[in-house]
């Protein structure tokens, strides 16, 4: 087994207090390893987005410990947070809201170079790096420079988000439903690039989705989340083809399929 890059013990997030208390994430344990592609599957309201924000350090953890690269995560100061964010980055669901529409595309990529300590590099070197990153996601930097994000299509925007990740080269990439706003026939491009990020750059990818088929297609191991808890986890083949938890069984049973018949049976009683 390779080294653990991110693990958590008893991660809990409680919103509100008193009577209005809601437990979004409930004592969740996990252990992600290097160069692994893990899917977290859950329906809306299962707490997967809350978990993502906690892992990113955008939300405080109510209870439990997160271990990053074997050490307990410490993001108590801004400097430490910055250091942590060099190791963990994210792609979000909606490419249209992921960009500041008042900033040009160049500034998005330049930010990444600066964050990796390249602020002092000569202009030509920076352009070279940006061109390489755009090439990685099959975009031409020369065509994008001086453009605004809203001049691109959704797919191009999401690819540029991956170019950003390519420049940042974090240890861990959290992809929060990166394809759910994109047409099915362009989905493969994004998925391919994520796999490339793992294979060529060596990232560990946490893929968040509600589509159990997609999770099965792309991931090495799968965590199924229901009401803030992981009900099942294991390798993709194990979990999807031989589910053990009732929730997973129901989920797989209710998803329309094309080979096996899709019955209305049990769920309807």
């Amino acid at each position: 087994m390779s080294d653990s890059v991110l693990s958590g013990k008893g991660i809990t997030k409680v919103f509100g207090f008193g009577d209005k208390k809601t437990i979004a994430v409930d004592h969740v344990d996990f252990d992600f390893h290097e160069r692994e592609l893990v899917s977290i599957v859950g329906e809306s309201g299962s707490g997967k987005t809350t978990l993502v924000k906690m892992l990113l350090g955008l939300l405080s953890v109510t209870e439990g410990d997160i271990y990053f690269m074997g050490k307990k995560r410490d993001i108590s100061t801004r400097g430490k947070k910055r250091e942590y964010w060099k190791g963990i980055q994210a792609i979000f669901q909606d490419p249209f809201s992921s960009y500041n529409m008042f900033h040009k595309i160049d500034s998005v990529l330049l930010d990444c170079i600066n964050m990796r300590g390249g602020a002092g590099l000569p202009r030509s070197k920076k352009i070279e790096m940006m061109t390489e990153a755009c090439g990685f996601v099959n975009l031409k930097f020369a065509e994008l420079t001086n453009k605004y994000p809203f001049e691109l299509s959704g797919g191009q925007m999401q690819r540029l988000m991956i170019a950003r990740i390519f420049l940042l080269k974090p240890k861990i990439l959290l992809a929060d439903e990166p394809t759910s706003m994109i047409d099915a026939c362009s989905r493969a491009t994004i998925l391919d690039m994520l796999l490339q990020c793992r294979d060529e750059v060596g990232m560990m990818i946490i893929f968040i989705t509600h589509d159990i088929g997609l999770a099965y297609y792309i991931s090495d191991s799968v965590y199924i989340m229901e009401h803030g808890k992981f009900v099942e986890h294991g390798s993709a083949d194990d979990v999807i083809l031989n589910p053990s938890a009732d929730y997973t069984k129901r989920l797989i049973n209710d998803v329309p399929k094309i080979h096996a018949p899709w019955d209305f049976g049990k769920a309807l009683g």
């Binding site: 026939c185 493969a188 297609y217 769920a267």
Partner: protein, 355 residues
């Protein structure tokens, strides 16, 4: 031979932009739906499938305008009717429409029974509240919806229940054709199944005669519909039975679409997912030739220049019915396309072997 419930001939509708440009979002679309059948419409976002659904109702409001063609429901031509006539005599009784966000359209301050009263009173103002309540209660019970929903407000219902309630309300007058535009996309899979089950029930019990089902989720479309039509850039590019379309598409675009199907079943991981590169053409100025030419793997010089018409292929059955006949829009003959696909490894879904 089954009765034709809905017949659409060369329907063309357009959007007029603020700059007075015409965008033909539905361009010479022809198809028919027989009684008891469900027709599915597939395509990328922006291909015109939702516009087609709106256009079928015959209810146009700016910036959408009628431009040409005929819509016939159960032998009655409804194209060219005034919006008021459409609202009075078509919507609800001939055609019902369920948009994706239908469940958010319920006014939260009114009880469910009020909406049903409104719908019925629009067509039969004399009906008493008691009659309406009895009718609604009976219908709700048949459809496995608890009848106490009628006395509730929409905010008290869950998302799936709301969506099913909306469908029950819009079909209360037993319309002949139900158009469902992504009726279950915003729901989780279990609620989605209940919504689909309910639509089946409506169909089986004869409350609706035919259905048009629009979704971008292809596995769902495959399971729900009898026939599937693939739309691209405002045109139909291929149509056929659901099984043929999913396992044996002939148009390169349909094939690309079907290749993107991912289901949690064995074999999904074995074949590599491929994407269709590029983006659909801008309909302000559509290409002269094949609209898919720019993205097609098998493009030839002729594709760019010559207008491509719909072509029929397949054989007629014994009665001379065109039931097994399929249509596609490509200049390459069917057998050549099939051979090419086979050479390239066939369809992903079938594990590499075309049926």
């Amino acid at each position: 031979m089954a009765k034709k419930m809905l017949e659409v001939k060369d329907l063309t509708t357009k959007y007029i932009t603020r700059f007075r440009e015409n965008i033909y979002a539905v361009d010479h679309v022809s198809f028919e739906v027989e009684e008891g059948k469900t027709l599915g419409i597939a395509g990328e976002s922006g291909c015109g499938k939702s516009t087609l659904a709106l256009s079928l109702m015959g209810y146009y409001f700016p910036p959408l305008y009628y431009s040409g063609g005929e819509i016939t429901i159960d032998g009655r031509n409804i194209s060219g009717l005034k919006p008021d006539d459409v609202r009075k005599s078509i919507l609800g009784t001939e055609i019902a429409y369920i948009p994706q966000a239908a469940m958010n359209a319920l006014n939260p301050t009114a009880k469910i029974i009020r909406f049903i009263e409104d719908v019925i009173h629009a067509h039969d103002p004399k009906k008493t509240k008691k009659d309406i309540y009895d009718l609604a209660k009976e219908r709700f019970e048949i459809l496995n919806l608890p009848s106490d929903v009628l006395q509730k407000h929409s905010v008290e219902l869950s998302g799936g229940m709301k969506q099913r309630t909306v469908i029950a309300i819009s079909t209360i007058l037993s319309p002949k054709v139900l158009i469902a535009d992504e009726p279950s996309s915003a729901l989780d899979v279990t609620s989605q199944k209940l919504v689909i089950k309910m639509m089946y029930d409506l169909m089986n019990m004869g409350y609706i005669k035919s259905m048009i089902f629009i979704t971008h989720e292809l596995p769902l479309l495959y399971n729900v519909t009898d026939d599937i039509m693939v739309m691209y850039a405002g045109q139909i590019v291929e149509s056929g039975s659901a099984r043929q379309m999913v396992f044996d598409p002939v148009h390169p675009y349909s094939k690309g679409l079907m290749d993107s199907i991912i289901v949690p079943e064995e074999g999904t991981r074995d074949a590599k997912l491929t994407a269709i590169p590029g983006t659909p053409p801008n309909l302000k100025d559509p290409p002269k030739g094949c609209r898919f030419a720019d993205r097609c793997k098998y493009v030839m010089p002729l594709c760019q220049t010559s207008f491509v018409t719909m072509r029929r292929f397949g054989e007629l059955d014994d009665d001379g019915n065109a039931e097994s006949q399929r249509r596609y829009r490509c200049i390459v003959p069917v057998h050549e396309l099939k051979e090419t696909f086979k050479r390239e490894g066939g369809l992903r879904n079938t594990g590499g072997a075309a049926i």
